[in-house]
């Protein structure tokens, strides 16, 4: 009676309680000893397999930081402060002009404009009801003073410079 495959495998895996009996059998049975030797060779072959090296590091996705915005050049950093300073000066300079110009500027009244449009619309409707071709009557738009345009432009410029300076300052952090 020869040893089973299970007995031989469990013997080599050191997972049997029949160790003494198996060894006694192996010492007297050449066939089972040969089968064990074949199995031992498989163990040895598997053990002989060398470890291979990686061609790339697998740690890269964990060690590399996500791409941050590139550091701004030094001159741009200075420009940001310069822009903020210029904006402040412009604001200070603009204040007296604004206080002097504001009372002179005749801002268009929305209510007045709306009233004009409404009146015009009523006139058109009247004309349509009489089946006469409507006659064009130009709307009197409020005239804008050059000073008010300049003041608006200056205000927008100051806001743009100030905003730009603040944005650049945030990027520098």
């Amino acid at each position: 009676m020869h040893l089973t495959e299970e007995q031989l495998n469990e013997y080599l895996d050191e997972a049997t309680t029949e160790r003494a009996q198996i060894e006694a059998h192996l010492s007297s049975c050449e066939e089972c000893a040969a089968r064990l030797s074949t199995l031992q060779n498989v163990f040895a072959e598997l053990d002989s397999l060398p470890e291979l090296e990686l061609t790339k590091s697998l740690a890269a996705p964990f060690t590399l930081h996500p791409s941050l915005p590139a550091q701004l050049p030094k001159f741009l950093t200075l420009t940001a402060f310069l822009q903020a300073a210029v904006a402040l000066v412009a604001l200070i300079v603009a204040v007296p002009f604004a206080s002097a110009l504001l009372p002179q500027i005749e801002l268009p009244s929305f209510t007045k404009l709306f009233f004009q449009i409404q009146t015009q619309w009523t006139v058109w409707l009247d004309q349509l009801s009489t089946f006469n071709l409507p006659t064009f009557q130009p709307i009197n738009l409020p005239t804008l003073e050059m000073s008010s345009l300049l003041f608006t432009l200056a205000g927008v410029s100051v806001l743009w410079i100030l905003g730009n300076g603040l944005l650049l300052r945030n990027q520098m952090k």
Binding site: E6, N9, F43, S48, L49, P50, L54
Partner: protein
């Protein structure tokens, strides 16, 4: 040098420093994890991709890792399982890799012989069904007991033994034939 446990605790923070700490763990275990994948798949590119996947999944689940366990054996078992799932999901067997260098002719004869024999062993492993490969991997390279393999693969103990013994028999025949 920080221990694996220290690195895992730092990695759990989930911030940039935590990622760095996990990167250190990857550096420590990437070769052994890659070799698990390579023994199972026998294709370098695929093995590297799977090994990377193992670490990405491990990082995502780092909060659930039992800090009292050893990280190395755990990550290698995860790798074996992932490779098994990968192989079972494959319908067509991928073309196997030939690890031999192009300039192997210039190597000493003994080194060439070792390389060729390694290739034969890897080739024999790769020719077997996935569930045979994984029990060989877990028993011979990760030194798990029959019971541990059964628990890891969630299969009966009798299946572990039959797969393992059958796999060894096939390997013996293939390796004997290639001699």
């Amino acid at each position: 040098m920080p221990t694996d446990r220290d690195l895992i605790l730092r990695a759990r923070r989930g911030d940039a420093e935590g990622r760095e700490a996990f990167g250190e763990l990857v550096t420590r275990y990437q070769t052994s994890v890659f070799n698990v994948c390579y023994r199972m798949l026998h294709e370098r590119g695929e093995a590297e991709d799977l090994a990377q996947e193992v670490f990405i999944r491990a990082y995502d689940r780092i909060h659930t890792f039992d800090i009292e366990r050893e990280f190395g054996p755990w990550i290698r078992r995860v790798a074996a399982n992932l490779c098994l799932n990968h192989l079972e999901g494959q319908k067509v067997t991928a073309e196997l890799d030939d690890e031999r260098d192009a300039d192997s002719a210039q190597l000493p004869e003994s080194v060439q012989e070792i390389r060729e024999r390694s290739e034969q062993i890897r080739g024999a492993l790769a020719s077997m069904p996935a569930h045979y490969r994984v029990v060989i991997e877990l028993r011979h390279y990760q030194e798990l007991s029959y019971e541990e393999i059964a628990e890891e693969l969630k299969i009966p103990l009798s299946d572990v033994k039959s797969h393992l013994f059958r796999a060894r028999k096939i390997l013996a025949e293939k390796l004997h034939a290639s001699n």
